[in-house]
Symmetry: C2
Subunit: 348 residues, 2 copies
């Protein structure tokens, strides 16, 4: 049988290992056409779990290894000692062209370090960014960087704007995505020097998106722009703060419904609608940190993801592969690099 | 009649001016003992609004001025041209000892610049921070800096930790407040150099709180610590992101209840409980950015605050005055400065 794409899965990554990655892959497979899965990890654990998923068994194979990267390992240690680890072998499968993308719920730092080292960056991209999609009042927005680069200069921010714009266009189907730079105010003189420099360049040079201007934290969920660009420190804090507030809102809502018999009755009547609302903002639906800018599709699933969350992370990788994301980025950058104005300002 | 405290109000500040500040002061007055109000602004607008509030009229006076700082003025322009503005005169009232604190919903940058220039910082504090209280799963947490200082060195972060701890102790009544440094992970090696340096110092030297360690964005609402310390850029983005997510959750909930007749009926039954929940996280309840570290109580109300929000900002100033916040900070710093260990590490 021939497949259009192959996804390598670090079966051992995350808090639950194969007990989540195997059923998640089985569920994802139903949403992915012509796809083959290769699991990297302990065959003795993975194989027995496949029994109940005949379709998965048919369209997957296991690459055995005993070695696993711990979530506590420093990236440098993982690089040094993780030579035959499930994570590294899964990335190498992409490097060697055996797979088109890799998904891991393992150690983020190690995954980023290994994919940078083995897969390198796309031409014209200096540093990859972690990107993720967040729900907004009117759809979705892609936010990057979420933690790969704590400090970012203007050039990196511009590259993130390119990556985010191509993602919004190619994967989310937004024809002319708007890009905002996350800042503490919308006035021109606000913010760090790097952001102001990036703003000047983005409003001058052509790039695959449309520069909107500075945005503030509340603009993320307002859906002001299709792409939110920020440094990895700010993005990481913003994403996790958003997750925290979402969780707290849910807890307060549950407490409210439990606070009186009348409220409980109200809940019983409204629960279908409430459930749909919760689904809309379910963090599992938005699982999958995409390592954009790496020369190879690499998606990080949350360490504590359940089956549904991990399934979504696998589908995120599939979407990137299926839509030829990396090829499109390379084309855009080649196109930009040939434009005099871009060269003179950005100096790619 | 004698008063225990006097609060100066920039009556013209904010999007709605006296039409909000006057009724807000009337409402706040009911919650504040022995307090006098001085309004700074256009007497022709303020005086007629007082007619319906005889108690406020009795315990307040108007200091007339025609000049107002615009929300669009740059701080430098406001400093230069705002000599007789309602904002500046209100701050000067504190400087001259005529008032104990000032509340304004005007231009944040101008208010910060003027209060720093006129009131100066508390001894031992280099730069004031904007602090605010946020709701958590188990109570409240104070977060600072929210935007006064975009970049912060370790010394500033430590001073913010001191200010936040004293606030939690003195105003919120937490005997031994825990302090967390906002970061992208909880491991020691994570984050910017300044945060790591601040962490080392806070875990070594005595200060009015108890150092907890690094925290992440989701810890803010989890209530992991009583005081969240961060630089002004990150804090500003985190606060506004949290506001945005809170707003989006409410919108989704409203949409859910409106989605079917059954859900609407459910809402009617549960609405008392839902309202209590919404009240719990009502941003108006948490209005009032405190300029901690300024040698004089100064509270910034949201520019678009309604009467209830502005009322709360005035009460925030009252609480700081009533609990002698600045005196307590000064005492703590004097106490710390006499301790050899503190001097050798922080070098105050």
């Amino acid at each position: 049988m021939t497949y259009r794409q192959t996804i390598a899965i670090d079966a051992m990554g995350g808090d639950f290992g194969p007990s989540v990655t195997v059923p998640a892959a089985a569920a994802a497979l139903k949403r992915m056409q012509d796809t083959k899965i290769i699991f990297f990890g302990d065959e003795k654990v993975i194989a027995p779990l496949m029994g109940v998923y005949p379709e998965l068994k048919k369209h997957s194979q296991i690459h055995h290894t005993d070695i696993t990267i711990s979530s506590k390992d420093k990236p440098s240690v993982a690089l040094r000692n993780g030579r035959d680890s499930s994570m590294r072998l899964a990335i190498e499968a992409v490097k060697d062209g055996v797979a088109d993308g890799v998904v891991s719920a393992g150690n983020t730092g190690a995954l980023m370090a290994m994919s940078k080292m083995l897969l390198k960056c796309l031409p014209g991209i200096n540093r990859p960014a972690i990107a993720s999609v967040m729900p907004t009042a009117n759809g979705k927005t892609v936010v990057l960087d979420l933690g790969a680069n704590l400090a970012c200069d203007a050039e990196m921010l511009i590259q993130f704007a390119i990556l985010g714009s191509v993602y919004a266009r190619v994967v989310q189907g937004v024809p002319a995505p708007t890009v905002g730079l996350l800042n503490v105010g919308t006035e021109e003189m606000k913010g760090h020097e790097e952001i102001r420099a990036a703003a000047t360049i983005l409003s001058t040079v052509p790039f695959p998106g449309k520069y909107y201007g500075f945005i503030e934290g509340n603009d993320i969920t307002k859906g002001t722009v299709d792409v939110v660009v920020t440094d990895g420190f700010t993005g990481n804090v913003a994403l996790k703060t958003a997750e925290g507030v979402g969780k707290l809102s849910k807890e307060f809502l549950t407490m409210a419904f439990k606070s009186s018999p009348l409220a409980m009755l109200g809940y019983l009547l409204a629960r279908g609608a409430i459930k749909r609302m919760k689904d809309q903002v379910d963090p599992r639906k938005y699982n999958g940190g995409m390592f954009l800018g790496v020369n190879g599709i690499c998606v990080k699933s949350h360490g504590n993801s359940d089956i549904e969350g991990t399934e979504n992370a696998i589908v995120v990788a599939y979407d990137l592969i299926r839509n030829g994301f990396n090829k499109r980025v390379a084309d855009e950058i080649e196109n930009l690099s040939s434009q005099e104005k871009f060269i003179s300002v950005v100096g790619v």
